[in-house]
Symmetry: C2
């Protein structure tokens, strides 16, 4: 094992590369563009692993993240979040250098962009296929038409197509058919949108993307681009959705044990909200898990069942549930691995990875 | 209002200074040492505001944080977290320069420290008064004696006293008597511990500290030191516990509105898990709140009721509940303030503050 001294986010690079390759292959087999979402890893170096398999276009979730990846040579970036026009100065700087695709959900925003943005910019309209977070209902063609009419006013704004995020797939647990039904519903909507708008916009594309549908579906029709992000690492939530095996999860927090309480069926590790963030998962048996505990091996971690999970987190403490016998064998100073509930947020708070080979992989600051 | 462009953590310095002064005055009136916990603000500059009212000793929650504050001249630091002896190299560096007080909960750790740490170090034994996170039951005098016997073996390790964290006070909602009962219970335990151990250790101290008891109690007896942390900013959880008024909360996230859905009673802001972290609060009426939404004023924020709260967070999106009429009046590009559920974790992910005067206050990187 590495010579660690503090809570550390381990990255199994081989698993990560395999996840990247599998999704790139799937996109190629289906003849759809692959525009991975980089909000999960937020790392120049991990981004280069995508470039090595031919990826040229990416999605991010903020202007700041677009700037960070533009610095590393990415020049076709979709900010898959409704645009905040207060960031006009940064948007103007970015659009001088790269092809930037922005997301709108209201006609007012198109006008604000039209007046504030000086360089060519491409717009997606976000369509809400059932997640009900942001986006316009596909039946609301009046609103879609209003937005398209505003876009026509501004010669430097180009309509790029429709963007869909089937985030409701995250609520499914181990039911591949339910995930495929979500994908089928979006495919139907994509077909309708193309029938309605392709005559006027022959180059419009439909971009979809969420890790559950992109991982579970084998075929993609009527859509032009996939945008999954989390699959680069996966996590324990994705495993419970059915998107991945435990062995595909490419990151694990490694935490030192600081106290053991076999009589309470508990162990305490240094690893809290500032290391994991605080997403949790409801599991059968009224269990709320903040992370699945695994055993470390000489060369990473084992996915064999340990019966241990993180039952609560405070700022620096992680309280691990462990059967009395298991807890009794573990001592302060031992190390435990933890498969995170939500790898995007765990990476975001940890701010760097350590590979199994001991290399430190930096992230956006 | 300031010229903001992105989600920003505002700090009302006057409220913060008043919170600091009030707690310093309370400690002085009670003739107890004031050792504020700096894990909440994690900022050199905010630390200096404490120094300005005479504070000379602090608590932190990690070795890394002790290093950060030692750099700014703090030379008496308690790491109020069970010591992780893998960090021996950093502990040896720190103990060369400052008075370091560490926390132990097991005899093995004393032996590991005795062998690995080269310089004088002070130890607290953590006592569990009912929170059941870490610490030794006050009835388990056998274990306390075992630890003390181990301490005697190592001439460079000095027993400093007992440390108590009444974290179960965080589960109380608006019941000052329940908080005072928790404090009374700890006071009784402090008295017993002193009766048992003062003959052998005449200089031992009892250190207590959590924001609810330190905010609500007016008198402190039998204890020597208070260690609250969160009170520097307070937050919406502390308000619901009864520790503070809404007007004492000194930080608010400011988020741009990016979409409005009056028909769903919802507004979407740029402000997600990467800005707030993901602590939530269960409120009457089966409401789960990830933040209390307030209106911004020309000079900060108003605490007048808006009926709005954050009902869910994803990585970058905050979904605000708002009555249809309220939501209908708010437009993309407007700004909303949010009193955080847990200011410690919000500060930890935001990594800097902006004062109402526009000054940027940096934090530990």
């Amino acid at each position: 094992m590495l010579n660690l001294t503090e809570p550390t986010l381990l990255l199994d690079k081989q698993k990560c590369l395999a996840n990247i390759q599998a999704m790139a292959d799937k996109a190629q087999r289906n003849n759809v563009s692959f525009r991975p979402h980089f909000k999960t890893h937020q790392s120049h170096e991990v981004g280069r692993w995508f470039r090595a398999v031919g990826v040229e276009k990416i999605a991010v979730s903020s202007i700041k993240m677009a700037e960070y990846f533009a610095e590393d040579g990415w020049d076709d970036i979709t900010v898959a979040f409704p645009v905040n026009v207060h960031e006009k100065t940064r948007l103007n700087r970015l659009t001088e250098k790269i092809r930037l695709n922005l997301l709108v959900v209201s006609p007012e925003t198109v006008d604000q962009l039209g007046k504030e943005i000086l360089n060519p910019v491409n717009l997606f309209i976000e369509i809400d296929t059932g997640y009900h977070r942001t986006g316009i209902s596909p039946e609301n063609t009046a609103m879609i038409n209003t937005i398209l009419n505003r876009v026509e006013i501004y010669p430097h704004i180009t309509f790029n197509g429709f963007l869909i995020h089937d985030g409701h797939s995250y609520k499914i647990r181990n039911d591949k058919n339910a995930i495929l039904n979500i994908q089928q519903h979006s495919t139907t909507i994509a077909k309708q949108l193309k029938q309605t708008y392709s005559a006027q916009y022959p180059h419009l594309i439909v971009s979809v993307g969420d890790t559950p549908t992109c991982s579970i579906a084998e075929s993609f029709t009527r859509v032009d681009e996939i945008r999954p992000g989390n699959f680069v690492f996966y996590d324990y939530t994705q495993h419970n959705i059915g998107s991945c095996s435990l062995n595909q999860i490419a990151v694990a927090m490694v935490c030192p044990v600081v106290a053991t309480y076999p009589e309470r069926n508990e162990i305490v590790v240094h690893g809290g909200g500032v290391h994991f963030s605080k997403d949790s998962l409801s599991l059968p048996g009224s269990i709320t898990s903040f992370g699945k505990v695994v055993r470390l091996t000489g060369n990473g971690w084992s996915t064999e069942e340990t019966g241990m999970y993180i039952k609560s987190l405070s700022q620096e403490h992680g309280i691990v549930h462990a059967e009395k016998e298991t807890a009794g064998k573990i001592k302060p100073g031992d190390w435990l691995g933890v498969l995170p509930i939500h790898s995007c947020l765990t990476a975001d708070v940890m701010k760097c990875y350590t590979t199994l080979e001991g290399e430190v992989v930096t992230m956006m600051g």
